[in-house]
């Protein structure tokens, strides 16, 4: 689905994102509140859903090449996050919905995880 459809589906507020970014298609998503878990993945998800609202979410997304970040539970984003979003060209959304519900709705619309990580913590 298109990012602008994600915005509608989640009743999200757009903290940063240009028209042409919002016209882009996304097919993969991940939900995580742990940065190293995200970075341990083999495939890069296009969309990241998280409850964390700090600069590191944006930096991690920039490092990993994530297209769009959705902050759940209506948590506020600060100037710094928006500044990094702009600099690194990452779409930044906030939704009042919970992480669970946001994942559920996006999954129902056909979004899937990028290939699951080969989990190195599996012993």
């Amino acid at each position: 689905m298109k990012l602008k459809e994600v915005v509608e589906l989640l009743g999200a507020d757009l903290a940063f994102g240009t028209d042409s970014q919002l016209a882009e298609e996304v097919q993969t998503a991940a939900a995580s509140d742990l940065m190293s878990d995200i970075l341990a993945r083999v495939d890069v998800p296009e969309l990241l859903l998280t409850r964390l609202n700090n600069s590191q979410v944006m930096r991690t997304s920039a490092v990993f090449g994530i297209k769009a970040v959705v902050i759940v539970r209506g948590r506020a984003v600060d100037e710094k996050m928006i500044e990094i979003a702009q600099e690194e060209e990452i779409v930044l959304l906030t939704t009042p919905a919970s992480l669970f519900e946001s994942c559920g709705k996006l999954y129902a619309q056909g979004l899937r995880s990028a290939q699951p990580s080969t989990d190195s913590s599996r012993s």
Partner: protein, 113 residues
């Protein structure tokens, strides 16, 4: 919905609390932040996380959660399993990531408040 139905439908492995799967699950909460779960998860919810250390059991007990599902085949520590068994908290494992697991549970009708 009973926890046992979810275990069967999603092919979850049971690492602890096998005797307590007849519990009613009233919703689900996905989070890897203990303080977030402490603050916002509601009683009877099934908790989706990739945190494996033993504090998760304490959080589940305090919030009266229905159980914990570890995603992406995360294996809990020995101590976590022991504690979960003691505290009667079902500890389950899914091969799916949090996004897809939440997607499937939502599709089964669980709510996420």
């Amino acid at each position: 919905m009973k926890l046992s139905e979810i275990v069967a439908a999603l092919d979850l492995e049971v690492r602890a609390g096998a005797d307590h799967l007849d519990r009613e699950v009233t919703g689900a909460y996905a989070s890897d932040l203990l303080s977030d779960v402490m603050g916002h998860a509601s009683e009877g919810a099934l908790w989706i996380t990739l945190q494996v250390h033993q504090n998760i059991v304490a959080v589940a007990v305090m919030k009266s959660l229905a159980g914990i599902v570890l995603v992406k085949n995360r294996e809990p520590d020995e101590a976590t399993m022991r504690k979960a068994e003691e505290e009667e908290i079902p500890l389950l494992i899914s091969s799916l990531g949090a996004f897809e697991l939440a997607g499937k549970l939502f599709g089964m009708g669980l709510s996420g408040s």
